[in-house]
Symmetry: C2
Subunit: 146 residues, 2 copies
């Protein structure tokens, strides 16, 4: 310690992700209050499908930075909730393409509003410039380690 003056005391919270934990908890509470029967993790999978529907589980792994078993089980649970459907690929029978149901499409606007609301609360009092720097630093961290 330390070629970049990182203070030991704050190192710890960087690793454990206290900030993102706090955001996720707040968002989960908003989901619960709105009677969206949905975990943040499930929502994060839907988020990628709202961007592009009908992608494979492997693509969901890459997009959501999760391993294959995690996606298998998240898709299991999302299927139970009737929010997605597994459709075997015709061109490659190893693959499942995951499609949103109409019910899931209906959730997009409300849940994204709650997510934006949460982020606004989280970032209250932080200037756009500083948010941008923070975002860039977190992106570099991710690229350095992924």
């Amino acid at each position: 310690m330390s070629n970049n003056q990182f203070k030991r005391g704050e190192l710890y919270s960087f690793i454990t992700g206290k900030a993102s934990t706090a955001i996720a908890r707040r968002l989960q509470k908003k989901f619960n209050s709105a009677n969206l029967n949905l975990t943040i993790e499930q929502w994060s999978v839907l988020y990628h499908l709202w961007k592009q529907d009908g992608i494979s589980q492997q693509e969901l792994c890459n997009a959501s930075f999760r391993d294959k078993p995690s996606i298998t089980r998240l898709v299991d649970n999302l299927e139970k909730l009737q929010l997605v459907k597994r459709v075997p690929s015709e061109s490659d029978r190893r693959m499942n393409m995951i499609y949103l149901t109409k019910q899931a499409q209906k959730l997009q606007e409300q849940s994204m509003d709650l997510a934006n609301e949460t982020l606004n609360e989280a970032l209250e009092g932080v200037s756009p410039e500083r948010i941008d720097i923070c975002r860039e630093v977190l992106q570099i961290v991710y690229d350095n380690l992924k």
Copy 2:
């Protein structure tokens, strides 16, 4: 969206904490390679005890931003690993004071070195000024929501 120009696409990774997940995975791999039989979560509890030994489970909850059941079970597992001991408080019989064992004291230096190494890898190419801004933003986020 958006009184602070937060871009939707990056909003998501802020919430899911991709950066802190990447850091934690890297550190866990270093622990495994070094044959430290220790999870990141267990390490984060030890971290607070290295700062101050003999605190209560409730104080560990506050320090590590976890709820009581999480700490109960982490302390359970740390006791099984013979890294901490529960000692009933004499002044308040509801409380357990948690003490490090000698074995846990030995882990401090090696594990902190690996944590610092991980952070240096994570933050490679980021200027101290930008790290500092990022740290401050994450602290504000935490304070806004906690």
